[in-house]
Amino acid sequence: MKFLNQAIAVTLLNLRNLPQRAGGSVVAVVGVAAVVLVFAAVLSMATGFERTMLLAGSDDTAIVLRSGSTAELNSGLSNDQALIIANAPGILRDGDSPVASFELYVVVDVAKRSTGDQANVPLRGVQAFAIDLRHNVKISEGRMFEEGKNELVVGRAAQSEFAGLDIGNEIRFGQTSWTVVGTFEADGSVSESELWTDLRVLQAMYNRGSSVQSVRVRLLTPESIKELSDALADDPRVDVDVLSEKDYYAGQAGPLSQFIKIVGYPLTILMAIGAVFGALNSMYASVSVRGKEIATLRALGFGPFSVLISTIVESTLLSLIGGIIGGALAFAVFNGFRVSTLNGASFSQVVFDFAVTPDLLAQGLLAALIIGLVGGLFPAIHAARLPVAQALREL
């Protein structure tokens, strides 16, 4: 108890002095702030991308692709196969017809608003149930395309990122000309990066006959996916993979977010090592500035333990202040920062927002805490071991 009271007393004293030594602490604070800023900024890319991909997926919707295809782009199904799939068991029906959409997409070039560079954007042909099949999609402006016409509805993210996609615009892709008639929202999910049109029109314009790439269906319940995939596995006329929409998108998000993490964590660790040296430096300086105070307190009978604790608390506190500054900056600058990137799985652009999540901020503060503890430990031991008689002499 007495130990603790001593430690608290010396720590409080030390913190009262801190403002007068602020200059020397700046290096430590800035170093840690930079670490947390970079950490949160880099990883907010991964979380933002994952979030965008995961938001798009639900588990009561299934995507059926040709067996072995990792993505829609390298899948292919005939119209007959698609009909067999749509009428398999486990699928919700609306009256007579299964809740299903045959889909096909191609990649078109559209100029970025910001730079004017051409980027690959998915143009997806869908059927009437496409909107119902995606829980978060709704037409927010204008109207849905009409069947059989060269009309487009465009995702809101695509509209803000790429040029020429405002409602009423005519836009040419290759030989064909399209009219934008509506905008749809999808809670910022990956669908918002797409352009949609009528499947039959797209098939005709791009000479795809009646073939499609995927069949998207609404399951009776999330568990019905087993019934569906078993039935299709037993049917010799089709050879397909059945994935829940959630798993499908998670699989697509994997490689890129993995890559960001593989770069982000080691980068953070490297910077953190730098910040530890910054903290060490500041704390050794601080201990030497406090030398007279420490020696006086020790002469009065305060123990080495209280000096140790006060130094570690100072270092940790400075680090946490740095961490909070870095995290706040990351949040202010990067949260919601919109970018588009090539999604390797679909060879097209995904528009997503950086997400500086509470979880990321907590991890950043934890890193700051560790930097503070490690950077404070050796100076603290040094301070606690200060030979009192000699220290008093030097002042």
Partner: protein, 229 residues
């Protein structure tokens, strides 16, 4: 009639300065009685501060025993010495060593944080100590709002607040003008005569030494007794 408070027997203190050996104190013997007021004089580098540090448990001898009030300081661990200092000795430094962020009262209270006293009791004792040194009306001033003499009074109050038997002063008037120095020295005399404190005071100033009951001269780590007029 006088009992012995501190005994040094065969005390040597050797510093190692790189490869060089610095023999500061050499087989020194000394007895100090309870109630004594001893002035310690001698040229710079003769080992006065070193001796004071040994008596105050801030440093340990290379050889010999240091006994203060029955405690064998020379064989105590650093943390034992820390605890011992808290209750048995008060230090008074040339440059006061007050903590600038604290008021006079809080500075004086510092040593009491090492006890189990309540905040109220600490504050009461600090007031008493400040009253003894004649600074009751400056209790809430910070060190930079005080004159040098006043700062040294606060430091003296801090040294006596936990009621130690022994006061160790290293050039307590070294930074003060004559008149202020005399006031401080009178205060030390009062503490010695009326409060029964045993005082050992290092000084370069013969006039300051006159306030003591006796003076010891140190030269090259050896003591030679001389009577003062």
């Amino acid at each position: 009639m006088a009992e012995t408070l501190a005994t040094l027997q065969g005390v040597s203190r050797v510093y190692q300065k790189g490869k060089e050996r610095v023999d500061v104190l050499h087989e020194l013997d000394l007895e100090i009685n309870t109630g004594d007021f001893l002035a310690l004089m001698g040229p710079s580098g003769s080992g006065k501060t070193t001796l004071l540090n040994l008596l105050g448990g801030l440093d340990k001898p290379t050889a010999g025993t240091v006994n203060v009030g029955g405690a064998i300081l020379s064989s105590m661990s650093n943390s034992q010495l820390s605890n011992w200092r808290a209750t048995h000795v008060g230090f008074i430094f040339q440059f006061y060593n007050l903590l600038p962020v604290l008021t006079a009262r809080k500075n004086v209270e510092l040593p009491l944080l090492l006890t189990n006293m309540s905040a109220k009791e600490r504050s009461r004792r600090a007031e008493i100590a400040l009253d003894i040194v004649g600074l009751a009306d400056r209790a809430s001033h910070r060190p930079r709002e005080l004159s040098g003499g006043q700062e040294q009074r606060v430091a003296i109050a801090r040294a006596i607040v936990s009621d130690p038997q022994l006061l160790l002063c290293d050039e307590p008037t070294g930074d003060l003008d004559r008149a202020t120095a005399d006031e401080i020295l009178k205060l030390l005399q009062t503490l010695n005569a009326e409060h029964g404190k045993t005082i050992i005071m290092v000084t370069h100033d013969a006039q300051a030494a006159d306030y003591a009951r006796r003076t010891l001269h140190m030269d090259k780590g050896k003591l030679e007794a001389r009577t003062t007029a």
